[in-house]
């Protein structure tokens, strides 16, 4: 039986802290050191990893999510379904029940209780999972969850992408989470063994980091912090990061205009050159220490 890969998720409460830069760089560096690596882009609202790590070729599978569908001629408008729906997604209007797809979570309770068997679950297309080896190296495969514009069911697309990524035989899976702390982030990080929080040492960044730490505590995933865009002005601030008890700061990257400029053009700092090489080795060392059982959190029940 294939052993399970190590799974690290990259998250942050605030947007624009550098999750994508960190996730793509960790994945590229791990693959370059010989690990079979899978990067999963879970920012289904705004997926960007493919810009930095173009795929050599790709296969696309559509994501369907179940939603209830009412056969109006069979419906007697009894209201059993609308009375039980936790989301207000099915309502009786006139002589038939009607389903609002955006509100439906696809649980199937209404279909269970319909005395006329007038409700069935249908697959609604909400997005795609795109996968393929990167141009950089076939040892690095990129899986992207992409929400169709106008759809609201990002968590379903993210779950499909994560499942796809974990199904590929590999040594390491890197999950690039969306910003925020709600259902989309939970869908992205719930399978992770370790959670790396990318934080900007600014007042906004510190506030949002606190929320991300709460999320990690709630999900009981071992966490560490990577401080990004550290400048001489906010230099004392990394000390403030240590207020999050038990969450070590494992890495710190300085703000560099040059890095920002090159990143803007779609380059990765792992390649060095005049961009200045950035190594994510401290993060991989931290991850290794977790799987070696050094951290007590690693023994938490999953």
């Amino acid at each position: 039986m294939a052993r399970r890969p190590a799974v690290i998720a990259i998250a942050s409460g605030k947007g624009g802290t550098g999750k994508t830069l960190v996730a793509t760089t960790i994945a590229a560096e791990a693959a370059a050191s010989g690990l079979h690596t899978v990067l999963v882009d879970c920012d289904a609202d705004a997926p960007n990893d493919h810009i930095f790590l173009p795929r050599a070729y790709e296969t696309i599978s559509r994501v369907r999510t179940p939603v209830a569908s009412v056969d109006s001629p069979s419906c007697t408008a009894c209201g059993e379904c609308s009375g039980l729906c936790a989301y207000g997604a099915v309502r009786v209007l006139g002589r038939s029940a009607l389903v609002f797809n955006e509100l439906c979570h696809g649980c199937g309770l209404c279909a269970d209780v319909c005395p006329e068997n007038a409700i069935t679950m249908q697959g609604l297309e909400v997005g795609s999972v795109i996968e393929g080896p990167t141009e950089r190296t076939p040892d690095l495969r990129l899986v992207s969850g992409v929400l169709d514009v106008g759809q609201v069911k990002a968590p379903d697309v993210i779950r499909a992408a994560v499942e796809h990524g974990l199904g590929i035989e590999s040594d390491l899976v890197v999950l690039d989470a969306p910003p925020g702390v709600a259902c989309s982030v939970v869908a992205a990080v719930r399978e992770a063994d370790a959670l790396l929080l990318v934080a900007e040492p600014t007042p906004f960044g510190l506030h949002d980091l606190g929320l991300a730490v709460e999320l990690g505590n709630e999900l009981r995933i071992p966490m560490a912090i990577l401080a990004n865009k550290v400048t001489p002005e906010n230099e004392p601030v990394p000390a403030q990061l240590s207020r999050f008890e038990g969450v070590p700061v494992v890495h710190s990257l300085p703000f560099s205009r040059r890095t920002a400029e090159r990143y803007a053009s779609g380059d990765l700092p792992v390649d060095g050159g005049d961009m200045g090489r950035i190594s994510m080795a401290p993060v991989l060392v931290w991850l290794g220490s977790l799987s070696a059982g050094v951290s007590p959190e690693a023994a938490l029940p999953r």
């Binding site: 409460g13 605030k14 947007g15 624009g16 802290t17 994508t20 920012d43 289904a44 609202d45 705004a46 960007n48 810009i51 179940p66 039980l84 936790a86 989301y87 979570h105 696809g106 649980c107 199937g108 309770l109 269970d112 209780v113 929400l147 514009v149 106008g150 759809q151 609201v152 990002a154 969306p178 910003p179 925020g180 702390v181 709600a182 259902c183 989309s184 982030v185 939970v186 719930r190 007042p203 906004f204 506030h207 949002d208 929320l211 991300a212 709460e214 999320l215 709630e218 999900l219 205009r257 920002a260 400029e261 990143y263 803007a264 053009s265 779609g266």
Partner: protein
Amino acid sequence: MKVLTVASGKGGTGKSTLSALLARLASDELRVALADADVEASNLPIALQVDKVACDEFNGGVRAVIDADACTGCALCEPVCRFDAITPKGSAYAVDGASCEGCTRCFHVCPAGAITLRRQHAGEVCTGVSSVGPMAFGQLRPAHDLSGRLVTEVRSRAVALGAQNGAELLIIDGPPGTGCPAIASLTGADLVLAVTEPTRSGAHDLGRLEELVRRFGLPLAVVLNKADLSKSGAREVRELCEAREMPLLAEVPFDPALVTALELLAKGEVPQAHGFGTGGMRIIREIWRQLSATLGLAQQASESR
């Protein structure tokens, strides 16, 4: 009351910074109300020194809880859960609270009555008085869902606040992305101001946001923030704006003066309007002029003088 929603596909482009500075300028001419619709990472209250805060609990849905002693281990609940939230634990079953979406289907199939439903405290919805006008905001508790519904609640409270205070303009600082919370923040907008950055990610996500906004038939204008960070990135954004016929209102340089102004605002030291006369700040003032003309507010302001 006109409604301006500040949005962006990508996170970290400068929505809250721009919202706060525009609100500061607008408040010189008009009565302004504000909403922070990023309920997962609410930063506008920090930027604009909110005071006299009153919060209500925001009730989310329910979550299922299995009483291990009453559970007979019959396993009927596990396969009916669409969210894979139910797994065996010892001789009984248990619910993973973060994955449960509260559909109640397991509660209905359990023959032993071992499952109870607990109402969730999913967050808070708040109102307060900021340095430039009344503000509504919210905070979702981490790992809870329904952020779209909380955004809708924040927006409707802001509309009510604005009406009570005779506000002529409501500025909504939106969440990043194009999903459920972003859609909730666009409802009822008279104009959507998309803030982007000159990166390939910025252009890509602006394209997705434009598609979304067009579906709702809302007018859209673009601000390119940190514009001098990349020539090629800026070109890409300009080309996209031209191709999709989006007016590019302004290009704001990467200017530390904007951060300083924001810090002053956050300390309650409201920067003087004449401070908006140089560099990036002058461009913010120009953006405000254009927005107020587009929304038909310039005339109202001169009439009320």
